[in-house]
């Protein structure tokens, strides 16, 4: 598999040639770094690039799934499946649309709902929504990924007031519904929702995507 498939080599010949070494250990790789690794995976089936992605994301996806209450062995399997999906569908990855972290988050979240919560209808519906967006990729209501400042979003998450930060984490990292959060914290349902609304507005503002 050293020779790139001719049809695939056309996808991103320039990017694919610029495969870079891992960044110095003190630098956090950015979205552009990951999209170059993805270009090499897609165009050249480059295993070294794939394993750079694996080494960074596999343990994070594993921890994400473990936090959701997934048993260790199943979490390991789902991480492998998520990365295998990346290998198979690298050609569908569009760095202009979403960062690799966002893309892998979606893949892992979908696998969790499909295989842990056992909701067989979720996956085809999400894939349908993705196709609708691909079909309309010329018109964007969301800021293009290149304009998204990942660091600003990280800082905005760190700056959330304590209650909002707690609710956002319970939502994303424990997959708790509004009602479950309300019960657990003894908060009125309306307050849970309004706090989450305020948190989302702040975070969206940091992404330049607020409308």
């Amino acid at each position: 598999m050293m020779d790139p498939h001719p049809a695939v080599a056309e996808v991103a010949p320039f990017r694919a040639k610029r495969v870079v070494a891992p960044p110095a250990s003190n630098a956090t790789p950015d979205a552009q770094y990951w999209s170059m690794q993805m270009a090499a995976v897609s165009a050249q089936r480059d295993r070294a690039s794939f394993m750079r992605i694996y080494d960074h994301f596999a343990p994070r996806l594993q921890r994400y799934l473990r936090n959701l209450g997934v048993a260790e062995s199943l979490a390991d399997e789902l991480v492998q499946e998520a990365l295998l999906t990346l290998w198979r569908k690298a050609g569908l990855f569009d760095p202009a649309r979403a960062s690799l972290a966002t893309w892998l988050y979606r893949v892992a979240r979908n696998l969790y709902i499909d295989q842990v919560r056992r909701e067989p209808h979720w996956l085809p519906i999400q894939e349908g929504l993705d196709r609708l967006d691909l079909a309309e990729s010329d018109r964007r209501d969301s800021a293009p990924e290149s304009l998204i400042d990942q660091d600003a979003l990280k800082q905005a998450i760190d700056r959330l007031p304590a209650v909002q930060a707690k609710l956002v984490r319970m939502c994303y990292l424990e997959s708790k519904s509004h009602s479950e959060i309300a019960r657990e914290l003894g908060m009125p349902l309306g307050s849970v929702k309004s706090s989450l609304r305020r948190a989302f507005a702040k975070l969206q503002g940091s992404m330049g995507g607020a409308r």
């Binding site: 921890r63 290998w87 939502c171 509004h178 609304r197």
Partner: protein, 220 residues
């Protein structure tokens, strides 16, 4: 036609987190299918999830896990990675139910088998859905529903026809994203029946003796 009433930010966040109860997620997906603006906001919500996932504290992957991953790649066929499919959009067919509803109610609006639950009100309940109620409602034109509020969350998307309540006019694709505080009394528009899909994660509460009489008919 672009929807005018959208998903609440808190609902979108929950959808992105995979934390919305199934019945509500089905109705949210019905709206997302018709609303590019909400899909764009969903992408923003997914970006938050991506950052939170990346911020997880971790250990380095074990050597045996890396070796297992590479062995899986060896087993993969040496074909080009999948490219975007060509057949992106289905023809707009007024009889086709939204994709999110098809697993529960079939493909065709015309083929639905309605059950009368009150004068002017017909319903089909989704069976065996976890964590709430999912139903299609078909309400005769010009009907006034009893004043009611909701114990928990309620999501409604209009599929055909329209109704008005104190929150505004709701037509095809519009979503009413209500919480327990909201009391409303929808009045369907004249002309065609109002067909909508509704989900709750808790029983409805009707007010007044007329409504209490109707409640058993609705079977909420």
């Amino acid at each position: 036609m672009k929807p005018h009433h959208h998903l609440d930010d808190a609902t979108l966040l929950s959808y992105s987190a995979g934390a919305l109860p199934t019945a509500l997620a089905v109705v949210a997906a019905t709206h997302l299918e018709r609303c590019a603006a909400c899909r764009a906001r969903l992408l923003d919500a997914d970006r938050i999830g991506g950052v939170l996932m990346q911020q997880q504290r971790i250990d380095a992957p074990a050597d045996d896990a890396r070796a297992a991953m590479l062995a899986l790649l060896d087993a993969e066929p040496a074909t080009a990675p999948a490219a975007a499919p060509a057949d992106l959009m289905e023809e707009a067919d007024p009889d086709r139910l939204p994709a999110a509803l098809q697993p529960w109610f079939g493909h065709s609006l015309r083929a639905l088998r309605w059950k009368r639950v009150a004068p002017g009100v017909q319903r089909i309940r989704a069976s065996s859905i976890a964590g709430g109620e999912l139903m299609l409602l078909r309400i005769a034109p010009g009907s006034k529903l009893p004043l009611h509020s909701h114990g928990g969350n309620e999501l409604t998307v209009i599929l055909d026809g329209a109704y008005d309540d104190m929150l505004g006019h709701f037509g095809p694709g519009d979503v009413a994203d209500l919480d327990g505080q909201t009391q409303h009394q929808p009045v369907t528009s004249p002309g065609v029946p109002c067909i909508c899909v509704a989900a709750t994660d808790a029983p409805l509460k009707f007010s007044g003796w007329v409504a209490r009489t109707l409640q058993p008919l609705f079977g909420f």
